[in-house]
């Protein structure tokens, strides 16, 4: 197997996890930046629609690095999928696949099921629940919690911050509850 084929196949957790962990020292040493991505959403609010709210009244230009970082993530997402994309279909665990198929998901070929995440669904109930409602909860919840998976679960835990452990446990409780209690209802409703 040559190097390009190796790069194109999905990367195992023991390669990706340590690389993601390295982001912590890289950002600290490049410029004293704490790893945390959800703040980019706050900076966008502060830059575009501050509306005089005190929460958005700060020098967002000083935090512009975070906007460069997320712009990079979008470019990296493009490169990773279109230049280094896996030519084969994604391998989903059998149990998850069967459960989701029973709930009406039919597309198991890519990273996201197009049954739900297709542009044509934007103005439907699917879009309202899975894009609008879901996105709103991600933005509201991460800011209320003061961080997301990167700011709390990775950066906070790496720095032994117990409030980050509280946050991480809360993320997981919310996710488990939603997956097992809410999602079956939502998927039945739209698929």
């Amino acid at each position: 197997m040559n190097i390009i084929e190796l790069l194109k196949s999905p990367w195992p957790w023991y390669v990706a996890g340590p690389l993601i962990g390295l982001t912590v020292p890289v950002l600290l040493l490049l410029g004293n930046k704490s790893f945390g991505i959800s703040s980019s959403l706050r900076h966008i609010c502060a830059a575009v629609i501050p509306a005089g709210l005190p929460f958005f009244k700060y020098n967002w230009r000083k935090e512009a690095w975070n906007l460069f970082f997320v712009a990079g993530i979008a470019i990296g997402g493009f490169a990773g999928n279109f230049w280094l994309g896996n030519p084969k279909a994604i391998v989903v665990a059998d149990d998850t696949r069967q459960t989701l198929a029973a709930l009406g998901v039919t597309d198991f070929s890519g990273l996201m099921p197009t049954d739900i995440f297709a542009v044509s669904n934007v103005f439907t109930l699917k879009g309202l629940i899975f894009l609008v409602l879901g996105g709103f909860l991600v933005g509201f919840g991460t800011r209320y919690a003061g961080g997301c998976t990167s700011g709390h679960a990775i950066m906070g835990l790496s720095n032994l911050q117990w409030p980050s452990l509280v946050a991480t446990v809360s993320f997981m409780i919310g996710g488990f509850a939603c997956t097992h209690l809410l999602l079956p209802f939502f998927l039945h409703l739209v698929l």
Binding site: P10, W13, A16, G21, L22, V26, L27, L30, G31, N32, K33, S34, F35, I37, I44, C45, L53, F55, K57, Y58, K62, E63, W65, F68, V70, G72, A74, I75, G76, A79, V92, A93, D94, T96, L111, P113, F117, I129, L133, G134, G135, V138, F140, G141, T142, Y144, G147, T149, S158, N159, Q161, W162, P163, S164, S170, F171, I173, C178, H180, L182
Partner: protein, 174 residues
Amino acid sequence: MEKIHRHSPLAESADTDFDNIKVDGCDGANRQQTAESFTANLKYLLVGILFGIIFVKAEIVSWFRIQEMFRLDSFHMYGVIGSAVAVGLLSIWLIKRFNIKTISGETVSIADKVFDKGQIYGGGLFGIGWAITGACPGPLFAQIGAGYLAVAVTLLSAIAGTWFYGLIRARLPH
């Protein structure tokens, strides 16, 4: 000090050093003292690009991988987050132990996280959103880049959610 500020109504503070960015436990905050130019910021773009590639290649941005995680059907996401924390822990320990400086010679400074009930309530709400969208804020950007353009709606809605939090913040339990 920060704890008091955090719960204060957030108006113009008498403390001139105070910056409202701190009213968030300094999540992702920039603690470099010297200002950075546009070109200096490009290095964070580069780190972001590498990061986005890892996100897609390890399929962390996949809705299916998040579903597997919350259904306990795969170790993948637990392995990714666990090993990332292990490397982060070791790195921060090394930086503190050997007082490793930043490339511009500053001492590395990381804000402590202050406990706040928002970590429980907000954390739970984010968890629900995470399971619905299959994305935390980082993967949202990677999904859009990877061609799932519908996720642009999710991102706009996440920005709206953040803005709404800023609007009603004073009325929420903290």
